[in-house]
Amino acid sequence: MATGGYLVSGVAPMRPEFLDADFVMAVLTLAALVALVSVGFNLVYGVLRFLNLAHGEIVVVGALLVGKFARGHGFAAALVLGVLVWAFLGVLAGRLLFRPLRLQPRGAMLGTSLGLGLLLQVVYSSTTNQAGISLRPDPIVLGPVTIAWTSPLLTVGVVVAVVGGLEAWLRFTRLGQAVWAVAENPLVAESWGLPVSAVYDTIFGLSFSLAALAGAFLAVNYSISFGFAFKMLVWSFAAVLLGGLGKVLGGCLASIPIAAVWAILGRLGFEPYVDPAVLLLCAGAYVVLPEGLLGRRLRAI
């Protein structure tokens, strides 16, 4: 009888080292995905100064969209298509739901984001019966080289490339510079003739597209559900606090100690205490380093 390699009897292989390569790669994969979620979350906060409480749902429904496209296309094509479509819908959501409220008290946008989250939950449950989304794409075959989509190197590589590209875009392009200016003071930026509308569209498009990308990789590596997405959002929020509110690169770097806390506590059998521990760590760090890990070296966007 086939047993899929699981033991019929005997002792499981022992791995006494606390830091073996597989474990470290698992930690880095999670850190990369927390970073990707936190970047999209942080972009919106950085420019519009409100916490988008629907970001977890945006991640899940983004993954659902990629999964739907993957039925008719290869996974790579579905990923690109899903990210683009979600970016377009992000622009629409920004224009219709959030931009009209930008001069209102921040609570208005916060409340709207809650409503958007509920709407996306309804969209999800009317689209699928599954409790979570799991994507199992065929590996990428490049001549003699085969790369699994679950490869930690691929996940980390994609995240590094995306975040690096985003950072470069923010620093070295005209629209990227305009994002800094709008983040500093939108009214002054508008009076200077900077393309404020284009900045808002871009930020929402980017936030949604990064969420779809993160959701797809989460669904490939694990499975993504609203519960897990909320957990990721809590960790992302912690990364944003630890890295410095509005600082993209700081948030990414902060995801590494957060994933390390998760890994160490989980391994010691304290997994249910990870969330409070992460938030306590960040609250403590916020008191000691209110500007975040990168201090004042980076400007807020």
């Binding site: 047993t3 033991l7 499981a12 022992m14 698992a26 599954q130 409790a131 979570g132 059998g269 249910p272």
Partner: protein, 381 residues
Amino acid sequence: MRKRIPIVVVALLVGAAVAVFLTLNSRGAPRHDLRAVSILMLEGPFKSYGDNVRVGINLAVEEIQQEDGVKVEVNFKSFDGDPTKALDTLKTAVGRDGFRFVVEVFGTAAALSVADFVNENRVLTISGVDTGDQLTEKMGRYFFRIVPSDGEAVQALMTWAKELGAKRGAVVAVTTDWGKGVGDMVEHYSPRAGLTVSRQDVDKAHSVFAPQVAALMDAQADVVFLALNPDQAGNFVRAARAASYRPIILGTDNLTAGEFTATAGDAAEGVRYVLPPVTPGNPIRSRVIKELRQRLRLPNGEEPHPFALYGYDEMWTIYQAMRAGKGDPDRAAQFLESYRVEGATGPIQFTKTHDVVLAGPYRRMIIQIDKDGKLEPAEVR
């Protein structure tokens, strides 16, 4: 004129009373009493479970109408899994809408939350999905379940683990009432099987199991009991496979859900679980499976989820009780205490604590990859 008004009013009142009396009589007492409420998760991430139970209940309702010519009204209520909401929903159904019979309150946590209320208010309740061991003590006079408790399943798993030569065990349990219950049962019964067991608790949103896998490898656990939600269990076996960790992996009906194999992929191969016994060659089961397969649009050969079968059986059971008790929950409960029938899920008969009598040894299942590359459970004999 002054004296006429009261006479007219009295005449109208008498007329109204007669009309009400005639209306009630024309409906007939049995029809009025054949109403039940069902509290399921019909929205959100656990919608598929609720849908399966509902399809089973609806099939039984249709059969009851065809066979006995009786229309049973089942009012489906949805809740999001929060036990306090299940209790609120039930209170409204009983207090405002007058329901006295409940065919399913979904989930052990919800069942524990409503148990005192159904007993204090004499509301006859039947469950086919609530397996939590803690429920046995709470069911009281008015709560029955047709599905065996987790304690039975865990004992069956322990026997199997022992036969497979396991020495060091571990349980990975989700911190819900159900998961805690199974985890406690594993710890309780493991000494009898000669197993030393360590425990890893995770919350219900946990999906990334690399730390738990590493901890179990450190502990050299050669058998792992999964008291996790299906998608979590899938993520666990994937993480184990990624770390080249190959213990014996055991579970219960949590591993029957599509979410488990969808999440685990090929890593599910070799995973074992146990299911409650069925009577071999049971014609009711074959017929009901065929009907449910059509309604659930399942391909030939694929079995409907056990919850659909339990939904079917619990509806027939509560109908028999309602009819025998003529709408009175006390008489209906009394009837069920001596009830014995062959259902689609197997023989249904209740113990003194209102658990179902176990009809035989648990079935042992192992997930295999068939010749088409599809994951299929096979019974181990």
